[in-house]
């Protein structure tokens, strides 16, 4: 009896399978989803790793209107898509009634945190839960302007050599202990010693605590990035009375167990690598915030699973969609909201970089020829299906320091051939290999091979088995050219300088891997990194970008926005410059 029932079940399942796979209208999706499934997981882990969380320290007062417009122009999406993106912005799911407190927000993520202590660990994985668990001195608005958080006011000295923070009174950690200036001092010193972004607090010489509410940070040189370095994801305030016990903070057991934070949510449970449960902290120092009762972060290795969860209503929000196929799938779903808004401070740039130590590629004409041959518009619009936006320099258009006038190398195959001929290469004479970060950038790399072929260069793919293999090749300079993705971190001091400074040719990924050396560019970056005058910095960076464009050590391709997909019931979604890497104080759920 039982076996015949099972037979029937198996039969039904298999027939259903064929109906879907062969005849159904979902056939393409199905095949896509299937072939992408395992790839996506790897791909996503890689992408988000890189994207993990670079920080920005763009000056205050940067009006972002220009950038907004520019992105709209740059997108080259068709009208329908543009409309959709616009309508999918933060207000799209707005309902008439006011905010309602309560409810559980479920976030889907591929990112596994090593722990929740952001003073010694950057990355989306740590920062999304970490910024709910810990408060920071400052928040930032959509124009990169600092806003009060634990610091109710702050002041930068005229000479730029010190910053004074005045902390809010009555703020307490999750164990009831008061949050004081000593905790802020301890957190800054911990981050200075142990955070992966060494440039954030490098110029800090000492931190003074004249009273419980006042923190004075002294600097060895003016440091324009210091305020942004006090963002939630970069400088969580951790309790000194717990972490200052002699155990190195990076290995401290309290980074995950019995977590005592300063933020709006407290840690209820962490099932390692699987589920993070956060619950509203009742004594949080901002009254009536947060609105949510609970946030659950559900970790899945495969972004396709997360998309299915979104579609089924099990997941409310995600930023780890992985592949273009998944983004398009959500975009085409009328019951979900997709937005590129938010996370502007991250600023990932996709580019093709040349190893200047290579005999052929040391010739600027060859590099320029390749730049003319590779059409970034085609890449973004066709290969990436509109999920990336073309960029022409290494500073993303959303940054106030972007130079829109640098040489763009608009696609021109004839010019590419001319330059190759000038460089002394007959058609078909050159053979070059293209590396890429597997597997996410494979389509980009395959297109580049094709495009170089059109220009008369025999190009071939150099396939690395996985991310570490690729990283090993590039760090060791074994490549000729590679597709890469490097994050801006908002302020160029943190995320941009590293790629070009001749002093940063140190044999590790995301440093100066091209071997680029230009004393003038070094000097421009050096000066811009110490100027607190925004206009001066804009001028200096514009000049540096123009020189780099002319010398073409890198052909800039596109920026990948952090696509956020959500259920329409999510109100006031986290679309700030740090997106989900900031406290979700105002997020609420409509029924």
């Amino acid at each position: 009896m039982k076996s015949s029932l099972m037979r029937l079940l198996a039969l039904v399942a298999c027939l259903g399978l064929f109906a879907v796979a062969c005849g159904g209208s979902d056939a393409d999706d199905a095949v896509d989803a299937a072939t992408d499934a395992v790839e996506d997981a790897v791909d996503d882990a890689m992408d988000d790793d890189e994207e993990a969380m670079e920080d920005d320290a763009v000056d205050d007062e940067e009006a972002m209107e220009d950038d907004g417009e520019e992105q709209a122009v740059d997108t080259s999406l068709d009208e329908e898509e543009l409309e959709e993106i616009e309508s999918d912005d933060a207000d799209a799911g707005a309902v008439d009634s006011g905010p309602v407190a309560g409810g559980t927000l479920i976030i889907g993520s591929t990112q596994v945190p090593r722990h929740f202590n952001g003073t010694v660990q950057s990355g989306l994985a740590t920062a999304v839960p970490g910024t709910q668990l810990n408060a920071s001195p400052l928040l930032f608005d959509e124009n990169f302007n600092p806003q009060p958080y634990l610091a109710e006011s702050w002041e930068v000295a005229d000479d730029g050599l010190s910053v004074t923070l005045n902390l809010v009174e009555g703020a307490v950690f999750h164990d009831g202990e008061a949050i004081t200036s000593e905790d802020v001092k301890f957190s800054i010193e911990t981050a200075q010693a142990g955070h992966p972004f060494k440039t954030m607090f490098a110029p800090v010489t000492e931190v003074l605590t004249p009273d419980d509410q006042t923190v004075i940070i002294n600097l060895s040189q003016p440091h324009p990035a210091i305020l942004l370095a006090m963002s939630p994801g970069l400088l969580p305030i951790i309790p000194e009375h717990i972490f200052n016990d002699g155990t190195p903070v990076a290995e401290h057991p309290r980074n995950t167990e019995d977590f005592v934070g300063s933020g709006p949510f407290r840690l209820v449970e962490y099932e390692t690598g699987s589920v993070i449960r956060l619950e509203k902290f009742e004594d949080f120092f901002i009254p009536e915030r947060p609105l949510l009762d609970e946030i659950i972060i559900q970790i899945s290795p495969d972004p396709s699973t997360i998309v299915l969860g979104l579609e089924g209503g099990d997941i409310d929000l995600t930023t780890t969609l992985g592949s273009a196929a998944n983004i398009v799938r959500v975009r085409d779903n009328n019951e979900l909201i997709l937005t590129a808004e938010g996370h502007e401070a991250i600023g990932p740039v996709n580019w093709l970089e040349f190893n200047l130590a290579d005999d052929v590629l040391s010739d600027v004409r060859v590099r320029q020829a390749i730049a003319y041959a590779v059409d970034r518009e085609f890449l973004s619009n066709v290969i990436d299906q509109g999920t990336t936006f073309p960029v022409t320099t290494g500073i993303v258009p959303a940054s106030p320091y972007h130079n829109p006038d640098a040489e763009a190398y608009a696609a021109n195959i004839d010019r590419a051939k001319e330059l190759l001929a000038e460089a002394g290469y007959a058609e078909g004479e050159l053979t070059l290999a293209v590396d890429y970060i597997p597997p996410g950038q494979q389509a980009t790399a395959e297109y580049i091979v094709q495009a170089l072929g059109d220009a008369g260069i025999n190009a071939e793919l150099n396939v690395s088995a996985d991310f570490p293999s690729w990283a090993g090749r590039v760090a060791g300079g074994e490549h000729q050219m590679t597709v890469n993705q490097v994050w801006n971190w908002g302020d160029p001091v943190i995320g941009v300088h590293r790629t070009y400074l001749s002093s940063n040719r140190v044999g590790a990924i995301w440093t100066n891997n091209t071997g680029y050396e230009n004393a003038e560019v070094d000097a421009l970056f050096d000066k811009a990194g110490q100027s607190v005058d925004r206009d001066e910095r804009i001028g200096l960076y514009a000049e540096a970008q123009a020189i780099i464009a002319d010398e073409a050590p890198i052909h800039f391709l596109s920026t990948s926005p952090t696509w956020m997909a959500m259920n329409p019931r999510v109100q006031n979604p986290p679309v700030g410059i740090w997106g989900t890497m900031s406290p979700m104080l105002d997020v609420w759920l409509a029924e």
């Binding site: 499934a37 790793d49 060494k198 690598g273 570490p468 995301w510």
Partner: protein, 326 residues
């Protein structure tokens, strides 16, 4: 019997050592290391950061030192600390093994029961339409990529029909008593267990069918029939008992490889077990976790072989006799 068990247990030690040497070396010579992955997740390739991470995990020491200290720790039952999860390997495995056991056992039982039933049926009526259909389905079941089947089933049953959950082991918003909780888990179990089971099911049904066809033509079956025994007794008591031996061999061997099958299924269905852990550890170059899982897997294979031998003895007296004679 006891001697066999003891000999197998000694083999385990040798094998574990070999597994450790081979895998440790392979992981070591692969380009890139965990430090690159960890730094990558941090978004910083700063060499100072890389050095700090390598020093923290002892990755800066020479190969021989790393391996020596690893073996030393394993001998005391310490499989090290995961780079990625920042937690002892033993506790990671302990947290996840239950999920994999539930999934693996359900899948194998499903495959054995249905596989043998289908096999017997098709052997008895080889020309029936069901037999032909079963043969085709078995071929498909055996050759279809597991991740593809899994995703098709999710699309059909979770997305289109919305009958079953798309993934995970439990509903995150779930509230209820113990029994409701098990029902919730069971609902989540259906799709992954079916997907994992189909591969084995196809093999078992074909194996049973072939073996059954052969047995039904053997002398002792003819004798049984000529004694006037009912067809039912002949088939289920005499023939099946003999025909099922190769199936048990197969199942036993596969019990040991259940972890590798679970790797893809658990990843596709987001099942929080050892397979998913292995998948993530490969990506993260999380050597301590991988080494631990590979050892566990090889021990499972040996134990499964041992168990198979023992079951043989119970089922087939000839092996029992031959065994003691040797």
């Amino acid at each position: 019997m006891l001697r066999t068990v003891a000999a197998r247990l000694v083999q385990i030690i040798g094998l574990v050592l070999a597994v450790a040497i081979v895998n440790f070396t392979l992981l070591h010579i692969a380009p890139g290391d965990a430090a690159v992955v960890i730094a990558g997740e941090s978004g910083s390739g700063d060499p100072e950061v890389l050095d700090e991470i390598r020093a923290l995990y002892g990755l800066d020491k020479p190969f021989i030192n790393q391996f020596g200290s690893y073996l030393g720790r394993v001998a005391t039952g310490d499989f090290g600390q995961s780079y990625r999860f920042n937690e002892p390997v033993t506790s990671l495995v302990r947290d996840r093994i239950g999920a994999t056991v539930i999934l693996g056992t359900t899948a194998i039982l499903f495959a054995i029961i249905v596989g043998i039933a289908v096999g017997v049926y098709t052997a008895r009526r080889p020309e029936s339409w069901f037999s032909h259909l079963a043969t085709v389905l078995a071929l498909i079941g055996f050759s279809i990529p597991v991740f593809f089947l899994g995703i098709q089933l999710i699309i059909l049953f979770a997305s289109v029909l919305d009958w079953l959950p798309a993934g995970r082991m439990q509903d995150l918003r779930f509230e209820g008593n113990f029994i409701q909780q098990w029902i919730d888990i069971a609902e989540h179990l259906i799709l992954p267990a079916f997907t994992l089971g189909v591969l084995y099911l196809a093999q078992y049904s074909r194996q049973t069918r072939a073996s059954m066809l052969e047995t039904l033509q053997s002398d002792f079956v003819r004798t049984a029939r000529s004694k006037g025994l009912s067809e039912r007794t002949v088939v289920y008591k005499h023939a099946l008992r003999n025909a099922v031996i190769p199936v048990i061999t197969l199942a036993g061997l596969q019990l040991g490889t259940i972890l590798s099958g679970a790797l893809i299924v658990e990843t596709v269905f987001d099942w929080p077990g050892l397979g998913r852990l292995a998948f993530e550890s490969v990506q993260a170059r999380d050597a301590p976790v991988l080494l631990g899982l590979l050892m566990l897997s090889s021990i499972l294979v040996i134990l499964a072989n041992l168990a198979t031998d023992l079951v043989y003895r119970l089922i087939d007296p000839r092996i029992r006799v031959g065994g003691s004679a040797a």
